[in-house]
């Protein structure tokens, strides 16, 4: 028995029972209607019979009254008769109505009516005594007829009644049968339905009990489940229940959980996916993940989810169990990452052949480097024995086998030797074989790393050759690192310095060759150090002057020696200094001869030696001059610094206090006094300018110079624009030839043009229409630039004085100036290695030429 029985059997049973009951009702109703009709018909019959009796009675009354009148002639009888006549007519009418539906009775009545009329007529004739006798006889006859008809009608009516009663009885009998049968059937059906319902209810109770038990079990399983779990509403995704493990793991309390939705524990970016998945959440168990969950603390965890559909408190819900796989995932990722990196590393290594061999020595893995070095593609070599990489003779000697045995014994084996490529060519290899064992020590195979070091081997050999060559050189050579450690030395050098190679290699040069402690004036170390320093700094060869540098004998005493050293850098691939070659020549003998030969140059054996002596002397002089020059430059620098600072300060005081005097006490001075003060001011101001110009001149001399392309035409135009701006009142036609370029220090060249064009500007100030031209021409095969003007000019006889400092060819009142401008120009041109000269005539303008 199941739900099916209830639905398929119980419902039809109820249906049939209802149909039956309805039928019974219908039948009963119809029966009641029929009975009603029957009753009416019985009443009708009685009425007919009554009216028939009344008619006969009325007729007899008429007879009696008429007869009374006829006998007594008493009119009261007549009155009675007349009144009864109406009654009689009334009965006839009633009868006609009552029998209108019955043709038989109707016919009888139509026969009766004339007889009644005829009888009444005879009764009226009774008053005639003559005819009374016949009338009575006739009347009796009529009366008999009437009685007969009435009797027939009565009988007919009673028969009808009997028939109707019989029919009613029969119908009532059927009705009873129907009622009994119908009700019985209904009862049976209802009983059956009742039984079915009863058994169904029992079954439900049983199911309910089972369900409760299941729920109990679910709670046990759910709450005590060590895995976090919860139930959430499938539609709203709110948490409906949550187990202890979830509370412990996620950090939310039960109450907090029940106020949350599934989406609240997912990272924001995954929420849309959660919403979407809910719409297609199937009605069956499903596993998903890994996905991210957020703990209350904000920590993200990776989880795998199993969920099952269930109805929870009448709601469609899902039971979810979450497994935290964060740790596992992390471990997996780490492992995968390192495996992947390792695999990638091995497979992409090109400089090393990295391969695995099985325990018997067959190749089981092969990398790119192996293919490159040995020439076999992976497909060709996998499964082959590794001995094919060895030359035939090695295989014959059992070298591959020996190497594996050694590896098994020692765990690792390294070898250098010839190996064979696929094409049969040989290469010099460095091979490292490592045994691969599992935890139990069982040998799995070997890892073999091979490097092609043929090139290195060759270079090593070449180095050996070169070292041999170098050491056999007849010259005295030492090779130093930039840190001044000795790395190579020629035999001749060792011999000349009384040293041994293995005693000096790897040591610092000054450690090996210290100054002679007995010579307080020894400069060997400091001069050599300075020279080597210059080589390192300038990355250029440095030739030292002849140098006294005493040599320590093996016994520790020193021997006086003179040397002519030269130090040169050796560059590496990146232009960095890799080594310094220190080459010396022993000139001791020559210097001694020179010293001894003060009395006569004849001691000099050759012209060559004389020249060398000259060179020695002049190089010593140059060294000294250089030192003096450096010193002079430093002095000049500090001098010009104090000039710029200390000389200007008093000038400012003179000018400032003169001004103060003018302002505050001017009214106490006469015109001459005021003029003197103004002169003092202008003199001090002029001296300020003079000092600045002098400083410029010295700066120009000292400034570092850098040659670069200079657009001369553009520069000239820029300067002209500046002059125009400073002297807007001047009318000057300035023309610069376009496209002139030069090589020079742009800042210094600018100073040149500023001075020259500025001079022209100044010396044309008395011209109404000043003309200044900048251009270039060829002079002695060099490009010479010139600045030409139509100004005051100068006397060509004094042209050479123009470029001296403070030389002025014009009075201060005529044209102001310090006379330093052209000196500065000349200094700059000289520093560029160029030449400057002037052409001019008084009042005919001047042209200054220069080359760079």
């Amino acid at each position: 028995m199941g739900h099916l029985t209830f639905k398929t059997q119980l419902l039809p049973a109820f249906g049939v029972a209802i149909v039956i009951l309805v039928c019974i009702g219908v039948f009963s109703y119809k029966r009641a209607l029929q009975e009603d009709t029957d009753q009416r018909w019985v009443a009708h019959t009685h009425q007919v019979l009554e009216q028939l009796d009344a008619l006969l009675s009325s007729l007899l009354d008429q007879e009696t009254a008429r007869r009374g009148y006829a006998i007594t002639q008493n009119p009261s009888f007549l009155e009675r008769a007349d009144a009864g006549l109406n009654e009689l007519q009334q009965h006839l009418l009633s009868l006609r109505e009552l029998t209108s539906d019955n043709p038989i009775q109707g016919g009888e009545l139509r026969r009766l009516a004339p007889l009644v009329t005829a009888r009444l007529a005879l009764l009226t004739d009774l008053s005639n005594p003559a005819e009374r006798r016949s009338t009575v006889i006739k009347g009796k006859f009529l009366m008999d007829q009437i009685r007969a008809i009435i009797l027939a009608m009565k009988r007919e009516e009673q028969e009808l009644l009997a028939k109707r009663l019989q029919a009613a009885a029969a119908s009532s009998g059927r009705m009873k049968t129907i009622l009994i049968v119908g009700n019985t059937m209904s009862l049976v059906l209802l009983l059956a339905a009742g039984f079915v319902i009863r058994s169904e209810t029992d079954r439900r109770d049983r199911t309910q009990r089972e369900l409760q038990a299941a729920e109990e079990r679910y709670h046990q399983l759910f709450d005590r489940n060590p895995l976090p779990g919860w139930v959430h509403d499938r539609q709203s995704r709110s948490f409906l229940d949550v187990n202890a493990a979830a509370i412990a793991h996620y950090g939310y309390s039960r109450e907090e959980f029940l106020n949350l939705k599934i989406t609240d524990i997912r990272p924001t970016e995954e929420r849309p996916a959660v919403l979407e998945s809910a719409h297609r959440a199937p009605d069956r168990a499903e596993s998903s993940g890994p996905c991210k969950h957020r703990k209350k603390s904000g920590e993200m965890i990776d989880v795998e989810i199993s969920s099952y559909p269930l109805v929870f408190e009448g709601r469609e819900a899902r039971l979810v169990v979450a497994i935290d796989i964060t740790e596992r995932k992390r471990a997996e990722e780490t492992l995968r990452g390192s495996e992947e990196r390792f695999r990638l590393m091995v497979s992409t290594v090109k400089d090393y052949a990295i391969l695995m061999l099985d325990a018997e020595g067959r190749v089981v893995s092969w990398n790119e480097g192996a293919e490159r070095i040995k020439g076999y593609p992976a497909g060709e070599i996998l499964g082959q024995h590794f001995s094919r990489f060895y030359p035939e003779e090695d295989v014959r000697d059992g070298k591959p086998k020996f190497e594996l045995e050694q590896t098994i014994k020692l765990g690792r084996f390294e070898d250098e030797g010839w190996r064979v490529r696929k094409d049969g060519s040989r290469f010099w290899a460095n091979v490292i074989i490592t045994a691969l064992r599992d935890e139990t020590g069982h040998l799995h195979g070997f890892a073999k790393v091979t490097r092609d070091i043929t090139e290195r081997k060759r270079i090593e050999q070449m180095h050996l050759h070169f070292r041999g060559l170098f050491e056999s050189l007849p010259g005295l050579y030492l090779v130093l690192t930039p840190e001044l450690k000795i790395v190579a030395v020629s035999d001749a050098y060792l011999q000349a310095t009384m040293t041994k190679r293995d005693e000096i290699l790897g040591r610092g040069i000054f450690e090996v060759f210290p100054d002679n402690p007995d010579d307080p004036k020894a400069t060997g170390v400091s001069n050599l150090r300075a020279s080597l320093e210059r080589v390192r700094k300038d990355a250029a060869t440095d030739t030292m002057a002849i140098q006294k540098y005493d040599i320590r004998r093996p016994d520790g005493s020193f021997e006086e020696r003179f040397w002519s050293p030269i130090n040169s850098p050796v560059f590496g691939a990146e232009r960095q200094i890799e080594y310094i070659i220190h080459r010396i020549e022993d000139v001791t003998e020559f210097v001694r001869q020179k010293k001894r030969g003060d009395d006569g140059e004849s001691a000099m054996r050759t012209r060559m030696e004389q020249m060398e002596a000259e060179i020695f002397r002049s190089s010593q002089e140059v060294q000294l001059a250089n030192r003096q020059l450096r010193q002079a430059n430093q002095e000049l620098e500090s001098f010009s610094y104090s000039v710029s600072h200390d000389l200007r300060a008093p000038l400012r005081a003179i000018d400032g206090f003169s001004q103060a005097l003018l302002e505050d006490y001017g009214q106490n001075l006469d015109a001459m006094g005021l003029d003197y003060l103004r002169r003092a001011r202008s003199a001090s101001q002029r001296m300020g300018v003079l000092i600045d110009d002098l400083l410029n001149l010295s700066r120009v001399t000292r400034a570092e110079m850098r040659r670069e392309p200079v657009d001369m035409s553009r520069l000239a135009n820029v300067i002209a624009v500046e002059l125009r701006t400073a002297h807007p009142e001047r009318q000057v036609d300035f023309l610069a030839s376009p496209g002139l370029h030069a090589e020079g220090d742009s800042r210094l060249v600018r100073v040149v043009l500023e001075n020259l064009i500025g001079n022209s500007w100044k010396f044309t100030s008395k011209r109404e229409r000043a003309q200044i031209e900048f251009g270039a021409l060829q002079a002695n095969g060099n490009k010479a630039f010139f600045v030409r003007d139509n100004g005051a000019g100068f006397d060509q006889n004094h042209a050479d004085r123009l470029f001296g400092a403070f030389q002025r060819l014009h009075g201060m009142n005529e044209f102001p100036g310090t006379g330093i401008g052209l000196a500065t120009v000349q200094r700059i041109i000289q520093r560029h290695g160029g030449r400057v000269w002037a052409e001019g005539a008084v009042e005919k303008g001047a042209t200054i030429y220069f080359t760079l």
């Binding site: 710029s644 600072h645 200390d646 400012r652 000018d655 206090f657 001004q659």
Partner: protein
């Protein structure tokens, strides 16, 4: 205006007198504290030596610093000043006679806010002082003086 002090570090009495005159000519009436060498300047700024006990919450609005100074030179004053929390944000204008490139590089390198060369002619000097006063005493908004403990 009384709180806007000018610290003039100048050893040359002529230049000191001229600077004060230039300030006066420009109607700059701020209090001018004159330090005649680097030691004195540092003494004022850090309340040591002759300035011991000075209220350090009062700092000059601007320091006009000469470079060539006896005892401790201007660069050293600047270096110490920039190295101290209390004065590292103080506006310092190097006001000197020199125009050497290396002085300018040095001065800016040590954190000078400005480098002005004193012109020889007094009119130019007055104009320079006027512009300095306008800029550093009126336009410029200095960093607040740190609370000294």
């Amino acid at each position: 205006m009384d709180d806007k002090i000018i610290l003039l570090v100048e050893d040359n009495p002529d230049d000191e007198a001229l600077t004060l005159r230039a300030l006066k000519k420009n109607n700059i009436k701020n209090e001018v504290v004159v330090a005649r060498d680097g030691v004195e300047a540092l003494g004022y700024l850090f309340a040591t030596g002759s300035h011991a006990g000075r209220n350090l919450s009062v700092m000059p609005q601007i320091v006009l610093l000469d470079l060539k100074l006896p005892r401790v030179d201007g660069f050293e004053v600047l270096r110490r000043l920039r190295g101290d929390e209390r004065t590292k944000l103080l506006p310092v204008v190097i006001l000197t006679t020199s125009n050497e490139e290396k002085d300018r590089i040095n001065g800016y390198g040590l954190g000078a806010n400005s480098f002005v060369r004193k012109p020889v002619e007094f009119d130019g000097f007055i104009e320079a002082v006027r512009q300095l006063g306008l800029y550093w005493l009126i336009l410029n908004q200095p960093a607040p003086v740190p609370r000294s403990s």
